[in-house]
């Protein structure tokens, strides 16, 4: 019931499911809400703004791919829940608070630059497009003026590494292109395959990596890989190139020069 109410609320406040089909139950995905302080019959709305010093926190009981468009306005990091967080929140009072998030998958959105960003929340393994939640955020990436007095701590604590909860790779090669021997061996080399099988997020028993042509059709593909390809295919570099997705954030990069470089790159992202 809660998820149905949530869906209805989202329709009324810049959040729009991609389609109206809703056959399977929508997973519980919770966005920050603006408290209903004026009239009790006005439903709360999802927060539509994100400031530079705030966390926009999305809780979910299923793993999500968080896709943004255009890319670059928002930084997305994920963490396994429950988790305790201290900071300013987009649905908060404007002051630093400590909060507990109890669901299994927590996503922290922070502003990188200013503009209007669309965000799709795609449950991993999604079967229905209606399970995908689309939300629009007005992002203010302008850093706030420092308060009077001493400046910021010159040695802030480094951001702790986030656990990798989803990891996929797509090697994009033009079919029929003849690359040099070293690049031809990517990604078929046993060391790469073994790593990808061990580390990437499987779906339906198939490891989360592919070799695609730039014009690859994914009509029959598994839902997550299909969604990832749809998200990145318009942003590809000239083939060959490499796409790595970690925790719902996809990065397109030049194709590695050889097997060793491929493994270094993959391990940098996937651990």
């Amino acid at each position: 019931m809660r998820c149905l109410i949530l869906t209805a609320l989202l329709i009324g406040c810049h959040c729009e499911p991609v389609t109206c089909q809703d056959i399977v139950p929508t997973p519980q995905i919770i966005l920050p809400m603006v408290p209903a302080v004026v009239a009790p019959d006005v439903p709360p709305q999802a927060v539509g703004t994100l400031k530079a010093d705030e966390f926009y926190v999305i809780e979910s009981d299923v793993e999500l791919i968080v896709r943004q468009f255009p890319v670059g306005l928002i930084d997305v990091e994920s963490s396994a829940g429950p988790i305790r967080v201290r900071g300013k929140f987009s649905d908060g009072s404007g002051k630093v608070e400590t909060r507990d998030y109890r669901r299994g998958y927590i996503y922290f959105l922070t502003a990188v630059s200013s503009g209007t960003a669309g965000v799709d929340l795609i449950p991993v393994g999604v079967l229905q497009e209606s399970s995908i939640i689309r939300h629009v955020l007005s992002v203010d990436g302008t850093a706030p003026k420092p308060p009077p007095g001493p400046g910021p701590d010159p040695t802030p604590d480094p951001k702790p590494p986030q656990p990798v909860t989803s990891f996929r790779a797509i090697f994009v090669k033009e079919s029929g292109d003849t690359l040099n021997p070293q690049q031809t061996a990517i990604p078929a080399a046993k060391a790469i395959r073994d790593y990808l099988i061990a580390k990437t997020t499987p779906e339906g028993g198939v490891a989360g990596w592919r070799e695609y042509d730039p014009q690859q059709t994914t009509t029959n593909e598994q839902a997550t890989m299909k969604a990832l390809w749809e998200a990145v295919k318009s942003k590809l570099l000239p083939a060959p190139c490499l796409v790595i997705e970690v925790n719902g954030h996809a990065t397109v990069m030049p194709f590695p020069a050889n097997v060793d470089e491929t493994l270094k790159t993959l391990k940098k992202y996937g651990g």
């Binding site: 079919s175 029929g176 292109d177 003849t178 690359l179 021997p181 070293q182 031809t184 061996a185 990517i186 078929a188 080399a189 046993k190 060391a191 395959r193 990808l196 339906g204 198939v206 490891a207 990596w209 592919r210 070799e211 695609y212 042509d213 014009q215 690859q216 059709t217 994914t218 009509t219 029959n220 593909e221 598994q222 390809w229 097997v259």
Partner: protein
């Protein structure tokens, strides 16, 4: 006496007489050489975009594949103790080799791309083309059908084609819808257009074999069509075509090597891209 590639994969030699290896008892073939009057050169995309790997560079590509275990041969034999990723298909007494060679090639392309594995049934393609008759053909016929209609999945469920059946009652709208999921997507290259001389054809076939592009190959001397897997170095300076056959219990998990003149195919296609 037969020789072996890597000690276990049998080699069909140029000058050896017909043996049980190339013509085992009970084996069926089915290749009918391409008729250029009905299947003209222009029916396929030309190979002009294929950047040839010169023969002087074959060793470098082959050595890298061996060092990295990155060839289609390695991908096919990636199971425990060198077992295959899938059991080779069986044309089972019908003259449908020309459809199995293409079906195997699609499966190898999916293997290379790590697409979810699927077991295709080339009997459906051949039976539909030949209207249920047990007739020979050439690989271009099945590949053209695969590009336009796709390939059926083996099975008895809705939209599937039972193993080795020629019964056209299974050609239903559900079957066609399922077949369309496994199509040859991108234009493919006819490697043996008559425009090109035999040396260039050999170079094209070798290039595909060294870059993990599978494809069906027709061999008139054998009256047989098989999937081309890899261009292999049998010994220093001696190269051959690693093929995947559609006969059960043949070679090494269906693999064998054609050497010398027997490695020169008379009709070949490169399956560059299949449906994801």
């Amino acid at each position: 006496m037969a020789s072996f590639y890597k000690s276990v994969i049998p080699v069909i030699e140029t000058d050896e007489p017909e043996t049980n290896l190339s013509h085992p008892s009970g084996a069926t073939f089915g290749l009918v050489p391409r008729d250029y009057s009905t299947d003209p050169q222009t029916m396929f995309a030309p190979p002009s975009g294929l950047k040839i790997i010169e023969e002087s560079d074959w060793d470098a590509y082959y050595d890298e594949q061996e060092a990295m275990q990155s060839s289609l041969e390695h991908l096919y034999l990636c199971g425990p103790n060198g077992e295959p990723a899938f059991k080779n298909l069986d044309q089972n007494g019908d003259g449908y080799c020309w459809s199995y060679s293409t079906g195997h090639s699609i499966m190898l392309d999916r293997l290379r791309r790590n697409l979810p594995p699927v077991r295709l049934n080339p009997h459906a393609t051949a039976a539909i083309i030949k209207k249920g008759r047990d007739e020979g053909g050439w690989c271009g016929q099945s590949a053209k059908f695969g590009r336009e209609n796709g390939y059926a999945v083996e099975g008895t469920g809705p939209g599937q084609w039972p193993l080795q059946s020629r019964n056209l009652k299974y050609d239903t709208p559900e079957l066609r819808a399922e077949m369309a999921k496994y199509r040859i997507e991108e234009e493919w290259v006819d490697l043996t257009q008559q425009l090109y001389d035999q040396n260039l054809t050999k170079a094209q076939v070798a290039t595909c074999g060294l870059t993990n592009i599978p494809g069906p190959g027709d061999y008139n001397h054998w009256s047989h069509s098989v999937a081309r897997v890899r261009w292999v170095r049998i010994e220093r300076g001696s190269w051959g075509q690693l093929i995947l056959n559609s006969w059960p219990n043949w070679g090494r998990y269906g693999l064998g090597v054609l050497r010398g003149n027997k490695a020169i195919c008379d009709g070949a296609l490169a399956i560059r891209l299949t449906s994801g």
